[in-house]
Amino acid sequence: MNIFERLQMLDRRWIFLVVAIAIIVPLIIPFNSKTYTTEPTEKLYRLIDSFAPGQDEKPIEKDRALLLVFTHDASTMSELFPMEVAILRHCFARKIKVFTLTFLPSAAPIMDYAINTVKEEFPEVKSGEHYVNFGYKIGALMLPIILGMGEDISEAVDIDAEGRKISSLPIMKNIKNYNEMNLIMDFSGSSAGGAWIVYARSKFGANVGAGVTAVMAADQYPYLQTGQLTGMLAGLKGAAEYEKLVDVFATNQDPAKREFSRELLKDTKYDDAITNPNIKTKFKQARIGMNAQSVAHIMIIVFILIGNIGYFITKYKQKQQG
């Protein structure tokens, strides 16, 4: 029995071991890899970035806001959570007004967790002033709230997760309905966008974006093509790209470099993010995950190739013998 035949018969457990190593090692031992940003992610980033107040503008005066809707439970957290963190970090760093909302009881703790994860790094960001957590609203209220926000957000949502009246919060200055809260990002493990596309988009013209898991992305492309979805982040890959954009622009040390530019993106000095101790692990979770993904994908492909080489050699030998 030669090595190829032996490889043919290889016990599954060796494969399992390799898989485990291939995934655990990149998670524990960081290494750098290049993240390529793609156009859909860049577009979404730039749209959100256009909500940021100008140099001389007070954040409170800005008449643009973003709504993040959490429609997933813990089972899809590993893919969607890094996206939520990245977008929140973008908002907090650039003082973009941001709201969070969920109609799913199991998503409420994830929402709190995401906000707190990012907030720890931005002590100057205040609830009610820079962001508001609308909290969990029961599913039966979904339609009335989506439609109601087209008229008046503070009336439709009424109170936030802390029980405060929305209308009395300073952040609501200059924010009334979808004309101002112009983008809704729906993070979902099943059908993203759904009711938001049907009601907020087609009735009030709000932009709807989606954060989805990798498996779902294919089903969502038609919506992206017909323009019903303004942007989409798909799986860890989308999250990793967004993380990179936030690193390069939104949190750039040099205030002059905080606007999007293609040239800056090509600069290789931003490729060391994963080993860079200045960037907190929680802000590169997706990129670390993508390292594991890359290794795992390559490993699987190598498995397939080895298996096939073995298969052909064995077949060739059999032919020669027979």
Partner: protein, 199 residues
């Protein structure tokens, strides 16, 4: 402290399940049987709270809708499943539930056949739409059971099989990422929530 204990229990059970990858072992067996037991036990109070109280107890005993005694009685007939002589009684609740399948005839015809057909009738304006059209037709022919796959017909059907295989391959490849993500999620739980290696 409480959280640490909880995490350790969860981590122990996680490892028990993972141990199955090596081989079937007492740890896995323990976890498996525990899992089955806990899920079964979980259902009982939930069914009581979410189904029995609102749909049987309250309408019957508080609102006195005595007509509901009939379905409740039919429901109880399920129990006779395990009695050899009277198990025919359990056919009644089953039959009552099966009635809804009738809806499947027009609904499947509508949603899964006619609407799908409309979706497939796209004007051929590019190579790609032609390719999709050919694919749809040949796959449909593959599912034609009245003719053996031989001769020219067999070759046409073969095209359909090719399309399906590419589709399946793509689905397979596409799923890899999601599955790896799940594992990453579990390992992150073990490594950061329990062992606090990653900060």
């Amino acid at each position: 402290m409480f959280e640490i204990v909880s995490n350790w229990v969860a981590a122990f059970l996680t490892l028990c399940i993972f141990s199955f990858l090596y081989k079937d072992n007492p740890f896995y067996r323990f976890a498996e049987y525990l899992f089955v037991g806990v899920t079964a036990g979980y259902t009982i109070p939930l069914t009581w709270e979410m189904a029995f109280i609102p749909y049987v107890y309250r309408p019957l005993f508080l609102q006195h809708k005595f007509i509901l005694l009939i379905p409740a009685f039919i429901g109880i007939l399920y129990i006779f499943t395990f009695n050899r002589k009277l198990n025919w009684l359990s056919r009644y609740p089953i039959a009552f539930g099966m009635g809804m399948v009738g809806m499947g005839v027009p609904l499947s015809m509508h949603a899964s056949v006619l609407v799908q057909m409309r979706g497939a009738m796209i004007p051929i304006e590019s190579i790609n739409s032609l390719l999709v059209f050919i694919g749809t037709i040949t796959i449909l022919l593959y599912f034609y059971f009245s003719k053996a796959h031989t001769g020219t017909y067999g070759k046409v059907v073969k095209i359909g099989i090719w399309y399906m295989m590419i589709g399946f391959g793509a689905s397979f490849g596409y799923t890899v990422m999601a599955r790896i993500s799940l594992l990453i999620g579990r390992i992150q739980f073990l490594v950061s929530d329990v062992l606090h290696i990653i900060k």
